[in-house]
């Protein structure tokens, strides 16, 4: 029975975690850890929230742990005396200067990205990585997973107003990043 539940959610959680973390191994780790925690704490689930919100709240917490650990490691590298690490960290501007096309041809890109078969999907996926963690999380939960604002507020532990703001400015940033592509493809056609 629990297996059925896992089968129902594992793809959704993996997709969301992969979009948030941009790393398939970590996303798989999130899937496993999420279901182990669901199994451990299923007696604590109260039907005040939807079950999917509760599961995604657990998965979101796992993702945030991984992102925090990344930040910690990044900070440690900056403090290290390794001369190899003396290269200046890329600024946000320089990161944006990377064109989406150049990232697509990156040989070190995650193999899972090969699943992004369409050119547009790959463009959007790469642009998504340029958002802040909090913006990307809200965008993924709404526009990919289809949660409502109130559910996202519950999942990420913030107010509906904050969700509204993060989602909007995340989309605005995506629009700026994808503008060249959209102008080629005729934006109004895509929106249909």
């Amino acid at each position: 029975m629990f297996q059925t539940l896992v089968r129902r959610y594992q793809s959704r959680i993996f997709t969301a975690a992969f979009r948030i973390l941009s790393n398939s191994e970590e996303a798989e780790e999130v899937v496993q850890d999420t279901f182990l925690k669901v199994h451990q704490n299923i007696s604590k689930f109260r039907q005040q929230a939807s079950f999917s919100s509760w599961v995604f709240k657990i998965a979101h917490n796992q993702c945030m742990d991984i992102l925090r650990n990344r930040q910690r490691r990044k900070g440690f590298r900056l403090l290290s005396f390794d001369p190899q690490s003396n290269k200046p960290e890329p600024t946000e501007e320089s990161m944006e200067a990377f064109t989406v096309i150049s990232q697509l041809t990156d040989p070190g890109a995650d193999p899972s990205q090969s699943l992004e078969l369409s050119e547009q999907g790959a463009m959007v996926s790469e642009a998504l990585k340029q958002l802040t963690d909090t913006q990307r999380t809200v965008v993924v939960l709404h526009d990919i997973e289809g949660f409502q604002y109130s559910e996202i507020a519950e999942i990420v532990g913030t107010s509906i107003g904050t969700v509204r703001s993060r989602l909007h400015y995340g989309r605005v940033k995506l629009k700026e990043l994808l503008e060249p592509y959209f102008s080629q493809q005729n934006m109004s056609a895509i929106s249909r």
Partner: protein, 284 residues
Amino acid sequence: MSNDFNCEQLEPLLSAYHDGELNEAERTLAERHLNGCDACQNRLLEIGAVASSLKLLPRLNPKTDVAANIEQLIANQPKSVTKIQRPVIWGAAGIAAAAAVLLVAGNFKIAPNSANSPVTANSNVNQSLPKHEHDPAKSQDLEIAQAPAPGVNPAQQEQSNPAQVAVGNHEHGSTSHGPESKKDPALDQHEKPAADRNAKKNSKFNPHLEVASRGNESSTVTGGTTSGSHLDGSDSQLIANRSGGTGVLGADSNLVAVYDTEQRGVTEELGITTDEDGLYAIKL
């Protein structure tokens, strides 16, 4: 009409308007503005295009079918999941600390009676009281740092069958991450056969360093509280054993470094203590 939205006021609400997440009053005001503003209509179109493009992203599947393995994952899950700390980070810090202490220790003159006395850093525990009053708070800190992970019964650790644990991990070990990788490091040492552990003790690749006064072939700390490190005898790893891979640190330092390669929880066992003779017990 003075309450109508202008473009700046509407801008942050466009996504919510697109998603149908505005309340009735906001939606009415937004629609009123949009009906007369081409710029905001275009803006709304762009927001919609971005949202639509995100919805087109494909659903992805994990490489490993978690559903198929979930029963096994649950069965093999440790009772208390403790995350492994970053051994590289702590190891580097510990090595630096160990090097600093060894330099200091090399300059200390060891008391004459210590040469033939028991060999560990706590050698004088039963012979003389320390000059400085033992700080129970510090001792407690050290003991906590070295205590087994919460929820892990030391007796169970002792009785656990390494072969069984190894087989259990192997059976579902197709992924190297996940909860298996977060198991209590204190349990790891029981997963290896004893012969393997002894072999590793002689290895030079050793993140764990113990320093003790040289004198006897082997001596295990079984009591005392001076150093606050491994004094309860329950995890008496503070052993000076020449046959177990030792190295003399300086010609007259009278110190022996005992190398121990067992992959124990690094941070849990981190402790640097000294007694009145300037003998240091370092555990990384």
